[in-house]
């Protein structure tokens, strides 16, 4: 559990690390808008190319970005399959019959269980998953032996295929952009940047300094609370709670046995922390000077200009193409 680092900042020294966090946050927003402006797959591919170029110049390994994408893999696969199977616009590309026979159904089930039990030992899980899926599909398409129970049709349309790739690419680009931000910005800098980016909200009487303080303290206490959770899990395990397995009902009990002490401890902690902060002359909402300051450099101006160029280009593409 100790390995969980929120934001996953990886120290480095490329130009991406030297850009002011405010610039990065604003540029991220601008580029996201730009990505949403794009309407065709070719432009999206070009966008992906630009992102790859950014990664290469910024010396960020694609593997890190992939790790950031991994939690979204399910969503990516889901939207991709959804578009392919249910989007019926454009010309028909593929139309095959799926044979559900007394032979193929057991074969699929066997393949499924085979996958369930072997996926733990295979290294490239995603690749393996696609391999099994294609195996199942080819079984259904090509084996037409035995008594046929049912027949289905697999039809893929050109628009469906295009949209599937389009949406998937858009998701990948957006997640990659935000991953670049968190990979190259220290949590404290990110917090400072966020605070000054949010400053205009002061007109609406939003206390941005307090938001920043809350964020900073959350960042500070994540490792401490993870430590605490570890200790509680060990303590509960020594009293017989098994955190590794169990049915849904047991799982709920396990989580309760972890959450209740965590809540109590967190409240106690925050009470003590509030006392310590007040004792050190902290008054919520009062002006404070800052030790950490941000510096705007010419690099930031350049970076922001490039982001704006990207935005205007995508707007122009939307209007004229």
């Amino acid at each position: 559990m100790k390995n969980i680092v929120i934001g996953r900042y990886i120290p480095g020294n490329s130009f991406l690390y030297k850009i002011d966090p405010r610039t990065k946050i604003i540029a991220l927003i601008i580029l996201m808008v730009a990505v949403f402006m794009l309407r065709s797959l070719i432009f999206m591919l070009a966008g992906l190319g630009l992102i790859m170029l950014l990664l290469a110049i910024g010396k960020i390994s694609v593997k890190r970005v992939y790790l950031g994408l991994r939690p979204l893999m399910f969503l990516l696969i889901f939207t991709f399959s959804f578009q392919i199977l249910f989007n019926t616009q454009g010309t028909q590309l593929i139309d095959v019959t799926l044979h559900y026979t007394v032979l193929t159904i057991p074969l699929i089930i066997a393949l499924f269980f085979f996958w369930m039990y072997t996926k733990k030992i295979i290294r490239f899980k995603l690749l393996y998953f696609f391999f099994i899926v294609s195996l199942i599909l080819s079984v259904l398409i090509f084996i037409d032996v035995g008594y046929t129970l049912n027949q289905g049709a697999l039809t893929i349309y050109s628009q469906g295929l295009e949209m599937a790739f389009f949406i998937m690419l858009r998701l990948i680009i957006i997640v990659t952009l935000s991953t670049i931000l968190t990979l190259t910005t220290k949590p404290t800098d990110l917090n400072l940047g966020l605070e000054s980016v949010l400053k205009p909200l002061k007109i609406f009487r939003v206390n941005t300094e307090e938001i920043a303080m809350i964020l900073a303290i959350s960042l500070r206490y994540i490792p401490t609370l993870l430590d605490e959770a570890n200790k509680i899990m060990l303590a509960q395990a020594s009293r017989g709670v098994d955190f590794s397995e169990g049915k849904l009902k047991d799982k709920v009990m396990q989580i309760v046995s972890l959450l209740v002490p965590m809540f109590i401890i967190s409240f106690k902690r925050s009470d003590e922390l509030a006392n310590a902060m007040e004792a050190r002359s902290f008054v919520p909402g009062r002006n404070r000077t800052r030790l950490q300051t941000l510096h705007w450099s010419s690099l930031d101006t350049v970076a922001l200009s490039i982001a704006f160029v990207a935005l205007f280009t995508s707007i122009a593409l939307r209007i004229f193409v």
């Binding site: 960042l219 922390l273 002359s281 002006n287 000077t289 030790l291 950490q292």
Partner: protein
């Protein structure tokens, strides 16, 4: 000049369950006073009253001659620093540098002076090399010294150590005690709140609390030998002193042995 005057102060968290009753205590400038008491004797409550985290039910508190009220509490907090028991729960910053800066930022000290003070006091408590470290990379003793640096940097006249050593290992405790001794030489007013004798021994004066009342008050030398008071307040006497006391009961007269035992207890 008096640093702190506590006059007739009482406090209760719940009705009819007083935690502190009719406390009268005066602490002079530059004095080191220990407030000694068992768990639940109200000693931590007293420290929270002095810094205005709690408001006394009756009585009044003066700090540096200024009465503690709603209006003056923020000024008084600039005069009084407090180091709490749990080093983890008073570490506000993400790094050591940020944490020492926290109090200074609150006092609206300009950035250049902040940087200067952080270095000065980090060097003083010997955490200079850890300035960029995060709290979970530090030991308890180191974290507690960071907390002390954070208070020192705020230039407070009075420093309260509220069981500041009770969660530390012997090495960490000694480091903190050394810092306290150094502070006494600089003329700071120190209040230590504790239930261990070794710490109490270092101070000029001991105030023994029991069930929210002052049981006894006197120089550390007299209180430490006062067997009846210590027994009444469930406190353990230092072993060499215990021996010394027993010898005195037996009318033992060898001055050399007695001196030796006294010396020994001072170096526990």
């Amino acid at each position: 000049m008096n640093s702190i005057e506590i006059k007739n102060v009482s406090y209760q968290y719940q009705p009819n369950k007083p935690v502190l009753q009719e406390i009268n205590l005066t602490i002079k400038k530059g004095e080191w006073v220990t407030i000694l008491g068992h768990n639940g004797s109200g000693k931590s409550t007293l420290s929270k009253l002095i810094i205005g985290l709690l408001k006394p039910k009756t009585g009044e508190i003066n700090v540096n001659g200024i009465p503690l009220t709603q209006e003056t509490v923020y000024d008084i907090r600039q005069k009084v620093g407090i180091v709490f028991q749990n080093p983890d729960n008073q570490f506000v910053g993400v790094t050591v540098r940020d944490d020492i800066a926290f109090g200074l930022e609150n006092l609206q000290i300009p950035r250049e002076e902040m940087i200067e003070r952080i270095e000065t006091y980090a060097r003083k408590v010997n955490v200079l090399e850890y300035l960029n470290k995060e709290p979970h990379a530090l030991s308890g003793g180191q974290k507690q010294r960071v907390a002390i640096a954070g208070i020192l940097a705020m230039h407070t006249d009075i420093i309260i150590f509220d069981e500041a050593t009770s969660m530390l290992d012997p090495k960490g405790r000694n480091m903190v005690l050394e810092t306290m001794k150094q502070l006494r030489h600089e003329g700071k007013t120190i209040i230590t709140i504790t239930h261990t004798m070794n710490e109490a021994l270092l101070s000029d004066r001991i105030v023994v609390l029991k069930d929210g009342r002052i049981l006894k008050e006197g120089s550390s030398q007299t209180i430490l030998k006062d067997k009846t008071t210590l027994e009444k307040s469930n406190l353990e006497m230092l072993l060499p002193l215990k021996v010394l006391y027993d010898l005195e009961q037996e009318n033992y007269t060898n001055k050399r042995i007695k001196d030796l035992l006294w010396e020994l207890s001072l170096n526990v």
